[in-house]
Amino acid sequence: MEQAASSLPPPARFGATDRKDNWWAAPLTVLIALSAFGVYATFRVVQNAWYAIDDTASAHILSPFYSPLIIWDGMPRWLSPGMLILWAPAGFRLTCYYYRKAYYRAFFLDPPACGVGEPRRNNYLGERGILILQNVHRYFLYLALGFIVILTWDVIKAMMWPDGFGVSVATLILLLNTVFLGLYTFSCHSLRHLVGGRIDCFSCAAMGQARHKAWKGVSKLNSSHMRWAWISLFTVMLADFYVWMVSSGVITDFRFF
């Protein structure tokens, strides 16, 4: 439809809005939180140390940043085992429908907040340009599902102490982290599509009832996808930090039984 020339909006002015609330608070918080995580994770992966509690008295407790642990003889010093695997969960989060929203707003200011002027008005392509690659998300999902299995195995190993079954703070933290990572992964939009969202007529599809149940289940989790995204981001950092602190001898892991 033709637009009358006079009705075109005024030139771009970043931050222009009639809103009277603190619209900048949310994107600023996201900016700070995601940046902080990025800095922490990068440091820890490059650090290439203190990622496992493996003294002889303890169960083997591995930081989620380094699981699965891939090491071989003659591995170059600059290459950390974290680098070998962390691209997968990082890719899962980077292409996640929730995080996309969060960083498009907080980092790209596209838009900074609803009804607030953007710094750039021209040449917007959305997810049609290079960002068409975001469609790879489902493949990262497949990998992320594998990671849930591995991390579950890590939790089991964290209960296998030299003298038999045991639970320490580290065990609980790994368990907690795996649960929240699981909730985050199982609430994924792509999974929701895969298990049933792609079906129009459940009553005429093969295994329609079961797939409808699965879709309903994932949908329920999905409505809190943002919450799981943040909680699991925090727990994964917590788990790594705890392992770092214990393995470097700053604190001692407390075993309940």
Partner: protein
């Protein structure tokens, strides 16, 4: 009840305009549209505003109250503290006709491009659990607040390229209908430009019907487009096993 409300209402037309101050008495339960009507009845009979049902069911009275898109008939005045003026502007994304009335005809032109519902032959039974998903989309009252707030339309003015959240919701309601046989995936990708949406969710935030526009309509449509166009494994599977995409 002697308290008053200060309003700043946009007065003007296609050639421009200005915010004009008005003052009206506050009454219990008053909504923003009531305040506008009081201005109309007592101070400015030619103040243009659209409204119909005054119960949040028709989606006519959309405007921007303090910069946020609202149905003015459902927006309580007592949400706004006394003493500061409330600004009421027409929706920014559409050309102003007069005062709070905008030219939303573009939306009707977009709607016309969507191929209609085509019912499948034979048995027409389907169940409430299947209807539920589609009924959420059919709650839409076409207030166009989502179209107004969507930055693709509002900031980037890509009205030729992008159909906007309202019509992605509509097409989702058609595509996910258990009895519909039309295929609109290509339309969603190309003519409707679903890729322009960067899922920043402002549409969902403003929807007065609380339709989960982004999560329940747009993202599932993006996934369907990905199935068809951006997923190499599915592409190979289609080549090998034939058929399109198994959506029964």
């Amino acid at each position: 009840m002697s308290s008053t409300a200060q309003l700043k209402i946009f007065r003007g037309d296609r050639n421009g305009g200005a915010m004009v101050d008005y003052e009206v008495p506050r009454t219990p339960g008053m909504v923003v549209l009531d305040a506008v009507h009081v201005v109309q009845a007592t101070q400015a009979p030619d103040l243009a505003v659209r409204w119909n049902c005054k119960a949040g069911k028709c989606g006519s009275c959309s405007a921007e109250v303090n910069g946020k898109p609202k149905l003015t008939c459902m927006e309580r005045m007592d949400k706004y503290p006394e003493g500061t003026a409330i600004s009421i502007r027409p929706m920014k994304t559409f050309p102003v006709i007069k005062d709070l009335v905008t030219d939303v005809s573009w939306n009707y032109a977009v709607n016309k491009k969507i191929p209609p519902f085509k019912i499948k032959e034979g048995e027409r039974k389907y169940y409430q659990y299947e209807a539920d998903r589609v009924q959420e989309f059919r709650k839409c009252i076409e207030c166009f607040l989502c179209q107004n707030i969507c930055h693709v339309l509002r900031e980037h003015q890509l009205k030729q390229e992008f159909a906007g959240p309202r019509f992605l919701v509509r097409v989702a309601g058609l595509e996910m209908h258990p009895l519909d046989t039309e295929d609109r995936t290509e339309l969603i990708k190309d003519a409707m430009g679903v890729g322009f949406c960067n899922i920043t969710k402002c549409c969902t935030e403003v929807c007065p019907e609380s339709i989960q526009i982004t999560d329940n309509a747009i993202i599932p449509l993006k996934e369907r487009v990905a199935d068809r166009y951006y997923d190499p494994i599915r592409w190979i599977a289609r080549k090998v096993f034939g058929g399109n995409d198994s959506r029964q």
